[in-house]
Subunit: 92 residues, 5 copies
């Protein structure tokens, strides 16, 4: 799974039928120093995440395993809201 | 899923048989500021997307879940046309 | 799927048994301006592609869906030869 | 699989139900010279890894194959703790 | 599949049970000019590859298709040793 920060809602009236009813959030993956890194992701939200929260999300086939209907074509799902990361210092 | 802008049509007379009948669009993934980022993608279009539209697309195995025939070998499908993204300001 | 240019043949006498009989081509993914971008890929060829041709290829599980035997361990297959891309101008 | 160093614990009270009971570690993928490279990963730990250890982890669908319940939506699992890497010199 | 050069052995006494008996090699993906590119990979070896050899490997679900037990959680397997690549000149 990867860490990301919720950065927006995706509004989309014209979408693939089986995605109806899912909240789509735009999330930005972050580095270990919590800086934005790489492309933003459109994810289905399974954790009730709100704006600006730090979350972790799962990708690929595992994302659709979280659906009652395994054929929902999602490849990114938010699984949890991160309370805290107990970081260790990096030793070279 | 990822955000992309539709940037072209792929014309291709010589292709794998089970792809016949699908519209293939060239789409360019974008950053959260909507700048082009990374390699362009050839995607099957399931949302009736037109040129220059902002879309979101699914990759990997989930892309072929969108097909009536799950053996259609696509790894990228356009699922929706984005009307609007309600963006939040990034807080460092 | 992604765009690539065919850049070589991979000659390989010692290989995993179920790959016997497949043509392996070295292809170089390209950007939307057709410049080389990223690592080269060793792909099974299902489109009769020749040297220097622009092709599109599928990755991951979908690549092995193109095989009569779904257990052939390929993760990249050339699906079509691109005749033309009708490109649109990028609007910032 | 990829090499990573364990760099933290992810504390998360609000998470997807079937992940309950799994230890989630934040790991940082490394280059062959063991320098941090790319985004950190939140992984389920199957090897009893501790802080600062060098581990290898598996991604994608194979990560959930390691679960008794294959529907646990993990896409990264730590499989082993590396004792030593017998490195060869790189010949250009 | 991708090209890589074998750069080391991974020694690991504490590992996930079903990986027992497999040789784990550290391989470095290479560019088309055979320069190191990107993160090193820990791969199961199915081709009897030795140190410093140029190999090609398969990733993701297809890697575990090469196992007698499809639940062995590997996401990278060496499939062949490259004898030669007949390269073509890149035409801009």
């Amino acid at each position: 799974m990867q860490l990301a920060r919720v950065c927006g809602n995706v509004v989309c009236t014209h979408k693939y039928e089986s995605l109806t009813g899912f909240k789509l959030l735009l999330i930005q993956p972050v580095s270990s120093s919590m800086a934005p890194l790489g492309r933003p992701i459109v994810a289905t939200d399974l954790a009730g995440a709100g704006t600006d929260e730090l979350v972790f999300f799962v990708t690929s086939k595992e994302a659709s395993n979280t659906m009652d209907n395994p054929l929902v074509p999602t490849d990114a799902s938010i699984l949890g809201i991160v309370d805290e990361i107990e970081m260790l210092e990096w030793k070279e």
